[in-house]
């Protein structure tokens, strides 16, 4: 196995030295749009797109500058400023891993920006939407480009904030406001893990910079690194919607569709995979317990997401389930050490394309169907939305792993590596691929084929070019990218300076046992879907279904579990606290005040205003005093 190369301090100028522009440009866009407010309504969306595209240009230039360097120079640290003196220097790490993410984030992000011009055209708040999109991109870029955990954490929180703002963008809908809060709170749980993990890293190793950790950890695996690994995994689970912190992802569909595409394809959910791969050399080395935990979480989530996807009638929720599942594949790959990293990142990139393609396609369908999301009210749309249909089909074939499309190479790479390293998890992943074949085919058959089951006032039409062109670009990426990245190990060689690589480069087998089994299962799944939803008539009202269907429809009872384990006890706790506060603390304070008030109310009656009464009380007082003194005999 080859280790990552040393990080070199970047001294020369050039594009790499200017890579901070990638973060600053969209941040500036967000700031301008938010500070100037309504004045920018007319051209705000154009500024947002321009900033995102400019950031993409910087990323592309940085990429070419990086591949112009020899292999051992391909990790360039750009020092920016001293952030916390003696603790953290803020800087950027430009290496193959971060630049791959930056290209995905800015590239797919820009396409989503462009698409949003059309999708949000009728929204009075479009300018604010673009401000948040820019903020999202900037935060995600800070997350992946930072050369230390503190910068990563700031970006991490920025992504959380931006996702909150975007999921709750239509905050007048109570469901959207609740979903935004849910995403934020569930993410806090993961952030807690990341934060505590960072605390332990700092106290144990005295540095939070990626460049120094390698030498400090030095490959030693003990209880401390395991604890750090598990805490970082908790953080990754929160952001990447892995079990047990998956519940926010499905509700996050309340946001506008481009947001879902951005969250699921380019940003946010990929952050967890990035964290695991970036920390891989330190805390998740091949064969460690922490890496095994990552792989198990990934395998469990890929099955859970696939099962959830099977029962959803809401097209966006179906896609959300598939995202969970695909991120599960990436986590599984990331838990296999350097052999799996290239496939995990490769799947992340190709998934970014085909998932953005399908989400934006779903948005295009909704755009033409009066924002209807229920697939039972679609049907036969292929004639009315030809471009959307073709691009969606491409994304669909890519995600189920149809041979020679993007998803085929990257997913198959993960499965074969997993079967080789962790046979049980690997075969679970094969099963997951079969389920993927079923639920994605079900989506296709229910949406584009069969009888029309539309509402009376639906007039489906193809979307404008500003929406279809991004779809076409994304679907082209969905076709060719996987083969390019995987077939001759392009991505693995490219990433090697950043994450290391196995000594023997894997050779892609078109006819391996797990690969053929996967294809067979996918075919069975797709065939079953055709049998149920293609050939047979789809009922407009969802049938009750068996207990398995209910299980999947209710998101595997994830919400019910959270509710009974955390929410209810929390409510009891607050109720007890409120009771104690009202009766106990308030009781003492109010009782004391009432007692003093009542007593003084009675006592003040002594002030009669009659001078003679006062004189009498003085006389009695003097007499008592004299009597007392006489009694004591002290005169």
């Amino acid at each position: 196995m080859e280790s990552p190369v040393e990080i070199v301090q970047h001294t020369a100028g050039g594009v790499i030295g200017l890579s901070w522009l990638m973060i600053v440009l969209p941040l500036l866009g967000a700031a301008i749009l938010l500070v100037l407010g309504r004045k920018t309504n007319r051209w705000g969306h154009l500024l947002g797109v321009a900033m995102s595209l400019a950031s993409f240009v910087v990323a592309v230039l940085g990429f070419f500058a990086l591949i112009g360097l020899p292999d051992d120079q391909r990790r360039q640290a750009v020092h920016l400023y001293e952030f916390i003196p003696g603790m953290v220097d803020m800087g950027l790490l430009i290496d193959p891993l971060s630049i791959s993410f930056a290209l995905l984030i800015t590239g797919v992000g820009s396409l989503i920006h462009i698409y949003s011009i059309g999708y949000m055209a009728h929204d009075p708040d479009r300018r604010r939407f673009f401000a948040y999109l820019n903020l999202f991109v900037a935060a995600m870029l800070l997350l992946v480009l930072s050369d230390n955990y503190v910068g990563l954490f700031i970006g991490w929180e920025g992504v959380g904030l931006a996702s909150y703002l975007l999921i709750g963008f239509w905050q007048f809908k109570p469901s959207a406001a609740v979903a935004a809060k849910k995403a934020f709170i569930v993410n806090r749980v993961g952030d807690f893990g990341l934060l505590v993990g960072m605390f332990i890293i700092w106290t144990s190793f005295g540095t939070l910079a990626f460049g120094d950790l390698g030498a400090k950890v030095n490959g030693v695996q003990d209880g401390t690194t395991l604890a750090i690994g598990l805490l970082l995994l908790l953080g990754a689970c929160g952001k990447s919607a892995q079990l047990p912190l998956q519940s926010w992802l499905l509700d996050a569909m309340e946001g506008p569709t481009p947001v879902s595409a951005l969250i699921h394809a380019a940003t946010m959910v990929t952050a967890g995979v990035y964290l695991v791969v970036r920390s891989g050399a330190f805390f998740f080395p091949e064969g460690s317990t922490a890496a095994l935990a990552v792989a198990i979480v990934g395998a469990a989530t890929l099955l859970a997401g696939a099962i959830i996807g099977c029962a959803k009638d809401d097209i966006k929720k179906g896609l959300a389930g598939s995202t969970m599942s695909q991120i599960g594949y990436m986590m599984l790959g990331a838990g296999l050490g350097p052999a799996g990293y290239a496939f995990a990142i490769g799947h992340l990139i190709t998934h970014g394309f085909f998932k953005a393609d399908m989400f934006l396609g779903a948005g295009s369908v909704m755009h033409g169907m009066n924002d209807e999301v229920n697939m039972r009210k679609y049907g036969g749309l292929r004639k009315y939305m030809p471009i959307t249909f073709v691009t969606f089909i491409v994304g669909y074939l890519a995600i189920i792993g149809f041979p020679l499309l993007s998803g085929y190479f990257t997913k198959d790479g993960i499965i074969e590596t997993a079967v080789h390293h962790q046979p049980v998890l690997g075969w679970l992943a094969v099963a997951g691929a079969g389920i993927t074949g079923f639920y994605m085919s079900r989506m296709i058959f229910m949406t584009f084929f069969g009888e029309k089951r539309w509402d009376a006032d639906a007039h489906p039409h193809e979307s404008p070019a500003v929406m279809t062109v991004p779809l076409i670009i994304l679907s082209i990426g969905s076709i060719f990218l996987g083969g390019y990245l995987i077939l001759s190990n392009t991505l693995m060689k490219f990433l090697a300076p950043a994450v290391g690589r196995p000594t023997d480069l894997p050779v892609f087998h078109f006819a391996s046992v797990p690969g053929l089994a996967t294809l067979a299962l996918v075919a069975v799944g797709a065939g079953f879907a055709w049998f149920r939803y293609g050939r047979a008539e789809v009922p407009v009202v969802a049938p009750r279904g068996s207990f398995v269907t209910t299980f999947a429809r209710r998101d595997l009872y994830g919400d019910a579990l959270n509710e009974s384990l955390f929410m209810r006890p929390g409510q009891w706790l607050t109720r007890i606290a409120v009771f104690f506060d009202n009766r106990g603390i308030d009781g003492v304070v109010n009782g004391l005040a009432a007692g003093i008030g009542g007593t003084s109310g009675r006592l003040r009656r002594l002030q009669t205003g009659f001078a003679r009464t006062y004189a009498l009380s003085i006389l009695i007082g003097a007499a008592l005093l004299t009597g007392a003194l006489l009694l004591v005999g002290n005169i």
């Binding site: 003040r604 009656r605 002030q607 009669t608 205003g609 009659f610 001078a611 003679r612 004189a615 009498l616 006389l619």
Partner: protein, 98 residues
């Protein structure tokens, strides 16, 4: 001798105190206050004579001075009250209460 003087002083004080408590006319109450002061003066002078020094005598003078000053202020107040309310009764002037 001392005893008789002290008894007289006590009687005068008691009469003054009773007058203050019982009478309503402010002038009479005021006179009774003067009576009490002078009863005290008598007691001071008596003890001074018995002990044989001048301190009690001096204090009696101080009391007289204070009483004179008090009369000036007190009578002025009483006259003002009478002018405004057409009454010198201490019970009528009872506005300052709870």
């Amino acid at each position: 001798m001392t005893t008789q003087y002290l008894i007289l002083s006590g009687l005068l004080f008691a009469i003054g105190a009773m007058g203050v408590l019982i009478r309503r006319n402010a002038i009479v109450v005021f006179m009774c206050v003067e009576l009490m002061l002078n009863a005290c003066n008598l007691a001071f002078v008596t003890f001074a004579r018995q002990v044989g020094n001048l301190e009690g005598q001096i204090i009696a003078f101080f009391v007289m001075v204070v009483a004179a000053a008090e009369v000036v202020v007190g009578l002025a107040i009483i006259v003002t009250i009478f002018r405004t309310r057409r009454s010198a009764s201490v019970d009528d002037a009872n506005l300052l209460k709870y």
